[in-house]
């Protein structure tokens, strides 16, 4: 191997030390007492409020939502064992699990659940706040939700993490969350914002007792650091691995890798109201310019993640096997651009009526692959004569740019299963006015009406056809240009077994884990 020769030549102390690290035999397994399970992730805990805590406590199975979902996005009983809808679709009833207790020992009552949901409903930016709810009330051991108009995905919305149910003792007098008292299989033992959470199994949990009774979560911001922790055997389960480190760990073979494709797509948001990008031929040309396969191979280290359409296979209902795949076709792109009136100028940049083809792409570094993908896209578009400026800033610049109309292109990853039913997100993203993380300056009456029909839930049989139509329209109009799908991976030490990742990222399912025999 080339680098082995270089090791011999390595002169500086730094080099020698780094090499020593490379040549190392990897982690030594610590056979010390196993408890607690050490979990490392990239997310820091900055708030206890369910609307802003990013689903921390459902993932750790501390808090429950009324409705749960399985890996196939099929809704399952959560804190509610069953639910029903009145014939007019305006009243929903959720029956609570009998005998459920909060971690402070108090029983879970319908009124405390209604109060928690009422609080959740008041928070801006949550799915529940968008639902036309009239009132949420307690009705014996059931919770009644009255709607102003029918809303079929309500149960899915109540699976969203922002609707997690906390005990009345969690709240202060002004309904602020002071501590987390949930009803899940784990309870909080110690919580130190922003980086440390310690859990212990909840003795009064009615379901299967978890095999691992103590868990320690630690937030580590840098992906290099996380990789090193996983590599050194310091953590048992490590989330948020960058593709390269993952590759390295895979090769070393000292750890197991669990992965799952997420209903998440990395995409280019296009301002369709823009004087250049408004032309659908230009959007298609941009799409053809992208060498998705190379990007997925080199940058995501996972060729299967090259997106051929917006919806990944992990959204089986929406993913259309039949549709024409998006492919890399530079000559086709040139042809389309020529037809749209763009020809190369003196410096090689495309021009039309003296206007150069210069656009700005905004993205953000929260997900480490985005800036790298952005530079790759930049290089590809340059080959076509498109001058793309990449601005890497804060994630909020995309919604802000959407609002003030200054955004031209945005690169981000969109989760279509924030709520188990992708319809909720889609209706929002591709509505007539577009959305911060959806279409911009683009609307399709056909798409809007299809989505509306599906949301009202009146035509359940036509749903499959509706989904096909939606995919086709998005595929040809390209209000957003899919770039890659997303695979979530976690590194698991050989000390534990049984990690299965949830594509909806609702839960880390730590209760299923066991210590290796």
């Amino acid at each position: 191997m080339a680098w082995r020769k270089m090791r011999a030549a390595g002169a500086s102390a730094a080099a020698v030390l780094m090499m020593a690290g490379c040549a190392g035999e990897g982690a030594k397994d610590n056979q010390e007492p196993r408890q607690p399970l050490k979990v490392v992730g990239q997310f820091e805990l900055h708030s206890l409020d369910p609307s802003t805590s990013g689903g921390f406590f459902t993932r750790l199975q501390v808090a429950e939502t009324l409705v749960d979902a399985d890996p196939q996005s099929v809704l399952q009983p959560g804190l509610a064992t069953s639910w029903d809808t009145s014939p007019d679709g305006l009243t929903w009833g959720f029956r609570l699990r009998p005998g459920a207790h909060f971690h402070d020992g108090t029983p879970v009552t319908a009124s405390s659940v209604a109060a928690a949901l009422d609080t959740a409903r008041g928070k801006a930016g949550t799915p529940l706040s968008e639902v036309p709810v009239r009132a949420i009330t307690a009705d014996g051991q059931a919770v009644k939700v009255a709607l102003a108009r029918p809303f079929a995905p309500l149960a899915a919305v109540l699976a969203h993490t922002s609707t997690q149910i906390l005990a009345p003792s969690s709240y202060t007098a002004d309904r602020k969350v002071a501590e987390i008292v949930g009803s899940g299989p784990y309870r909080i033992k110690r919580l130190e914002q922003p980086a440390n959470i310690e859990l212990a199994a909840f003795e009064q949990w009615q379901g299967k007792k978890p095999a691992i009774t103590e868990v320690k979560y630690q937030a580590v911001g840098r992906s290099e650091s996380r990789a090193l922790m996983a590599e050194s055997g310091q953590s048992d389960v490590t989330f948020g691995m960058d593709p390269t480190s993952l590759q390295r760990l895979k090769q070393a073979g000292k750890v197991d890798i669990a992965d799952v494709t997420l209903p998440r797509t990395i995409l280019l948001k296009v301002n369709a109201g823009h004087e250049i990008l408004g032309d659908v031929r230009v959007r298609r040309a941009l799409s053809m310019a992208l060498d998705r396969e190379s990007m997925a191979t080199a940058l995501l280290r996972d060729p299967e993640m090259a997106a051929t359409q917006l919806f990944p296979p992990s959204l089986p209902q929406w993913h259309q096997k039949s549709t024409t795949a998006l492919t890399h076709d530079p000559s086709g792109a040139r042809e389309l651009l020529a037809r749209a009136g763009w020809s190369p100028g003196r410096d090689g940049t495309l021009e039309r009526n003296g206007r150069k083809f210069t656009v700005t792409l905004r993205t953000f570094p929260d997900r480490p692959e985005l800036p790298i993908l952005a530079t790759a896209i930049q290089a590809k578009l340059k080959e076509l004569g498109i001058a793309l400026q990449v601005k890497i800033g804060n994630s909020s610049e995309i919604p802000a740019g959407h609002q003030d109309g200054s955004l031209e292109l945005g690169l981000y990853a969109r989760n279509y299963a924030l709520v188990p039913d992708a319809l909720v997100t889609l209706a929002d993203d591709f509505g007539p006015d577009g959305a911060d993380y959806g279409a911009m300056g683009w609307n399709s009456p056909a798409l809007t009406s299809t989505l509306n029909t599906m949301a009202s839930g009146t035509d359940t049989d036509g749903a499959a056809e509706g989904r096909r139509q939606v995919t086709e329209i998005l595929q040809s109009e390209l209000p957003v240009i899919p770039v890659a799908w997303y695979r979530q991976s976690a590194v698991v030490s050989q000390r534990v077994d049984g990690l299965v990742l949830d594509p909806l990222e609702r839960s880390w399912r730590l209760t299923d884990l066991t210590w290796t025999k």
Binding site: A20, G21, G24, K28, T52, G125, N196, S395
Partner: protein, 329 residues
């Protein structure tokens, strides 16, 4: 004024003067830092409300609606000078306000960050002093000897290795390769070792050099020679005179180095996932959490002032000579 009180004042004055000067500096600094932070954050590109919302809701869920909520809730549409005055007013009553992102009490959050940074810095300082001062003193015993040369190379070597690189190398060697120490994290005693060592390697080299030069110089001084001819044995001369006077130089130097140390802390915290001030500051800047930025920056600056005050008083206690001698007379 009679002669006796004059003298008394002349001797007690240095300590009081140090405290007075440092207090003035601290107040000036708080004003300057918090106003500068505020002004800069205000002039940063991008809508603050959006940034804060991104911090609060996570990047998936930041929307125009959440930004509007933030704006209304925090009164961000008030004139800037009014917001600044509010902050300064609160500061006088020692109220650091609440974080825009987490909504928590800044003072409380800061206390946690502050103490963990301080612990790390102290551990590094103690380690660096123990290793550096010993090495330097030993090197000075035989100027030009092997140990002396080693110290020299150690000094330049340590300076040439950026702390972040050093940290990575240490993790690779001690965590990944040898598997004896945790790579990152916070909360257990073993977590201190690598970050403190990362900070201490560079510092100890500097301390070693300063100690070496000071010891070598002091050994040549008239008073050390006199102490020897008084009949004091070599060991006693070293303990009672050389060490003591080296301490004077070293303490002053530690003061200068605290700045470097605190800078190093920012980097090391990022690498080792250490929830300290530097970490807090980077995040707060990223999210435009103005009260948090101001409070963290002020805390960092005050930390420097406090450390320097301690150093000033410490060297005053060891070395009673006035800092500045009157030239004329």
């Amino acid at each position: 004024m009679n002669a006796s009180t004059t003298t008394r004042r002349a001797i007690a004055a240095p300590a009081a003067r140090v405290l007075r000067q440092r207090a003035v500096q601290a107040v000036g600094l708080v004003l300057l830092v918090s106003t500068a932070c505020f002004a800069i954050v205000q002039s940063l590109p991008g809508d603050i409300a959006y940034r804060i919302a991104a911090g609060r809701y996570g990047y998936d869920q930041v929307t125009a609606a959440s930004a509007d909520t933030v704006r209304a809730e925090l009164g961000l549409d008030r004139p800037a000078w009014q917001q600044l005055l509010d902050w300064l007013g609160d500061l006088v009553s020692l109220d650091l306000g609440t974080s825009l992102v987490t909504g928590a009490d800044v003072a409380g959050e800061l206390g946690l960050y502050f103490s963990s940074s301080l612990q790390l810095a102290a551990a590094a300082l103690v380690l660096a002093l123990a290793v550096g001062a010993t090495g330097g003193a030993l090197a000075a015993a035989r100027p030009g000897g092997a140990l002396d040369r080693i110290t020299t190379f150690w000094v330049s070597g340590a300076r040439a290795l950026p702390p972040f690189l050093l940290g990575l190398v240490l993790i690779l060697v001690f965590s990944v390769h040898l598997g004896v120490l945790p790579a990152a994290g916070h909360g257990e005693a073993s977590n201190f070792v690598l970050p403190a060592a990362t900070l201490a390697v560079g510092l100890s080299g500097l301390f070693a050099r300063v100690t070496r030069d000071a010891v070598a110089q002091i050994r040549q001084s008239e008073y050390v020679r006199f102490a020897a001819t008084k009949g004091l044995g070599g060991r006693l001369v070293f303990l009672r005179h050389v060490l003591r006077n080296t301490g004077v130089t070293l303490i002053a130097y530690v003061g200068v180095q605290t700045l470097i140390l605190i800078e190093g802390v920012v980097v090391v915290e990022s690498l080792f996932a250490w929830p300290g001030l530097g970490h807090a500051l980077v995040h707060a800047i990223f999210w435009r959490d103005i009260p948090m930025i101001q409070a963290t920056a002020v805390a960092l600056a005050l930390l420097v002032v406090v450390l320097n005050t301690v150093v000033d008083l410490g060297s005053l206690a060891i070395d009673p000579r006035p800092r500045r001698r009157e030239v004329v007379l």
